[in-house]
């Protein structure tokens, strides 16, 4: 009886182990991938098919969940489009296909570093795309560089990642240092007589960085920065500050910080009828709720990485003397809508663009050799639906130097305030209101 009981117990434990094992088997699903990928690589010279493993982490949980989901959907849509075309064909007849492998990084740097290591060492990732956000991307880039893997970063605007001397990390987004420099270009283009700008910014890390870059750029462009001053993050009453700005008599006000301060600032500038010709501020104008300001929103300009109403097209690429590649904006938007049921924002567009740039680089290299792809990325100078893509090959290697922010301006149409793109020329949907009618 006792033996029977022991037997049953052992049997039970064994059963547990077995079911446990069989449950565990799906987990190392990457295994087959690697197995498939390895022979494919060996066959490459003579065979026609080649599968590259593309790895990244997505923040399926944690604070970046929403943005990251969009970005991942963008990448997946690109992959689907590529598969629809039957893969990427090289001149020697090889057809390159991608196998995407990704994990949930829980929006934390620790997981990002573990998982990118796993992607490279266990899953045999050939190419990498960054996670969402500058912080996570900085963590992932270290790993990519350690293993000498090519990484396309998207959803990350920080400049500092490209000051580490990395050789194979390439940025899709316009870096923070150029968030508002386009406003300076626009000002100069619209009004050669404009001489004075006031740069006022929220004293946060992001806004201060952007403001310093704008100041340097404006001065280089021959403009006089008549006021360069930060305000506290919690500022609610801007009137005294505006009085000071008015005393400096600038032609344009450039700066801002986040949503709350930016919208307050815009509202009070309007009420005080501050006599400036242009107001360009960070973040707030790109948020739909900015429309609640009504007339006070009209004329205010703000930067955005990408907008579905932008007008990048094969024609505008031609006008700029660049090669066009990939889908048009309309194709991307309608494809995304079809797949996910709603309009894509810039996070999704950035994800798609990352895949597209990789595809383009391999096509240009006409090879899957990492060195050849790196060379192709260094030489890349194209326009896609996301905008102009070109990377720095000098000191800040990999930094995005082609892509420009698009500048939105709130305008009044049929009694309603709407967003229009007014800069750069290649993307614009409407003429800018300049100077401000106040």
């Amino acid at each position: 009886m006792k033996g029977m009981r022991l037997f049953v117990t052992v049997l039970f434990i064994l059963a547990l182990i077995v079911t446990g094992c069989s449950k565990a088997t799906p987990t190392p699903a990457p295994q087959p991938t690697k197995a498939e990928a390895a022979p494919a690589q060996q066959q490459a010279p003579e065979a026609k098919a080649k599968t590259l493993v593309l790895g990244f982490t997505a923040s399926q949980t944690g604070k970046y969940a929403k943005e990251s989901k969009e970005q991942t959907q963008g990448i997946q849509l690109w992959l689907k489009d590529l598969e629809k075309k039957g893969g990427l064909k090289l001149s020697d007849g090889t057809v390159v296909n991608f196998k995407v492998k990704y994990y949930d990084d829980e929006s934390t740097k620790e997981r990002v570093q573990q998982l990118y290591t796993k992607l490279i060492t266990e899953d045999g990732a050939d190419l990498l795309i960054s996670p969402y956000s500058s912080g996570l991307t900085a963590a992932a880039a270290v790993i990519a560089e350690q293993y000498g893997k090519i990484m396309i970063t998207t959803g990350a605007a920080s400049d500092s990642i490209y000051k580490q001397g990395y050789k194979r990390v390439y940025q899709i987004y316009t870096p923070a240092s150029r968030y508002l420099t386009g406003a300076v270009d626009a000002l100069k283009a619209w009004d050669p007589n404009a001489k004075k700008v006031a740069v006022v910014y929220e004293k946060s890390k992001f806004a201060t960085g952007v403001a310093k870059a704008v100041k340097a750029y404006a001065e280089k462009q021959g403009l006089e920065v008549v006021l360069f001053e930060g305000y506290e993050a919690g500022t609610t009453d801007f009137n005294p500050f505006i009085n000071k700005i008015e005393a400096a008599k600038p032609d344009a006000i450039i700066g801002g910080g986040h949503f709350q301060d930016g919208s307050t600032f815009a509202k009070q500038l309007y009420e005080k009828k501050t006599p400036v010709k242009m107001v360009a501020i960070l973040v707030a104008p790109a948020v739909p709720e900015f429309a609640e300001l009504g007339d006070a929103a009209v004329g205010v300009i703000g930067p955005s990485q990408w907008e579905s109403i932008a007008k990048y097209s094969p024609e505008s690429a031609k006008a700029a003397g660049l090669t066009w590649c990939g889908p048009t904006i309309e194709e991307f938007v309608s494809g995304y809508k079809e797949a996910y049921g709603y309009e894509p924002g810039y996070h999704a567009a950035g994800g798609y663009a990352a895949g597209l740039v990789l595809e383009r680089a391999i096509k240009m290299a006409d090879s899957t050799d990492p060195d050849a792809i790196t060379k192709a990325l260094d030489a890349m100078d194209v326009m896609i639906f996301f905008g102009h893509i070109k990377f720095d090959t000098g000191e800040a290697h990999g930094l995005q130097i082609g892509h420009d922010m698009v500048y939105l301006q709130w305008q009044k149409k049929d009694g309603k305030v709407v967003r229009e793109i007014v800069w750069p020329e290649a993307a614009k949907t409407a003429d800018a209101i300049y100077p401000l009618e106040r």
Binding site: E229, E232, D237, N243, Q260, E271
Partner: protein, 284 residues
């Protein structure tokens, strides 16, 4: 010089609104020795009261203010019954905690209902130019409403029976009871008045700046500084303190980077506590 004048006027106008907010805090403290930590949340509630009446019913914000005023008194009396009265005879810490709890509840529910997205009341009364100064309509009206409410309160406190009773209870609750003043009802009403002042000032601020459910904190902090400046427990002092704070905020940016404003404000706060703890108008 023009900048100075413009900033002076701007500062004074907003100062009245700050003063009104602080009056609510100081009134409650003066009458029942309670530091109301839900002050900021109540200010935010006032903002949303006016906002919801405006966006939901299309009610003019200044009419909405009247409704908020009445609601404020009622809400204050309810709060008194729930969160203050049972603890009034306990140590100071109890009411401090209970009002803090009220604040957490209001902000928690508010965040759930409205999220922390900033809101804005789209109202513009134009502006007028007086010499070098451009006066914004909303700001002038806000200052006028604040003066009106403050004057009304003053008359109420000194000319009416209830007002006199409030002052009597503030002076000495036991003695007031002895001459037949129903002190509990008076206390409840005072808390209602304090709440009303917070909510009305919140409603006024909402016509000036964008706000979220979390915005009350800033004004609560300002109210504390103002109360100390003007003298704790002294509503007239609070109004004066408000004007001083408004002036500081208006004038400092003219002479130095705006970042120095809070530094100067709080240095003044510490100095007043050290040198003249009873405040400029020296309360009780």
């Amino acid at each position: 010089m023009d900048v100075l004048l413009a900033s002076l006027v701007d500062g004074l106008l907003i100062g009245f609104v700050y003063g009104l907010a602080a009056m609510g805090l100081t009134l409650i403290f003066g009458v029942m020795d309670v530091v109301n930590l839900s002050h900021g949340a109540l200010i935010a509630l006032g903002m949303f009261g006016v906002y919801l009446l405006f966006t939901g019913l299309g009610l003019n914000p200044y009419l909405g203010l009247l409704i908020v005023l009445v609601l404020g008194i009622i809400l204050g009396m309810i709060l008194y019954a729930i969160a203050i009265h049972p603890l009034l005879d306990g140590p100071h810490l109890s009411t401090l905690l209970s009002t803090f709890a009220v604040s957490m509840i209001i902000i928690g529910v508010g965040t759930m209902l409205f999220t922390s997205t900033p809101r804005n009341i789209d109202i513009n009364l134009g502006s007028m130019v007086l010499g070098p100064v451009r006066l914004q309509g909303t700001r002038v009206v806000a200052a006028l409403v604040a003066i009106l409410v403050a004057t009304g309160l003053y008359i109420f406190m000194y000319r009416t029976h209830v007002g006199k009773s409030i002052r009597a209870v503030a002076n000495n609750r036991d003695a007031a009871e002895l001459v037949g003043i129903p002190s509990v009802r008076i206390l409840a009403f005072s808390f209602g008045l304090g709440t009303m002042l917070a909510m009305v000032s919140g409603g006024l601020i909402a016509t000036l700046f964008p706000f979220s459910i979390l915005s009350g904190g800033t004004y609560e902090l300002k109210s504390f500084v103002i109360c100390v400046l003007g003298g704790l427990g002294n509503p007239t002092g609070a109004l004066l303190g408000g004007l001083i704070l408004g002036l500081i905020e208006g004038l400092i940016p003219v002479f130095m980077p705006v970042g120095w404003t809070p530094v100067i404000e709080f240095t003044l706060f510490v100095l007043i506590i050290l040198i003249r703890p009873s405040g400029i108008l020296g309360a009780r």
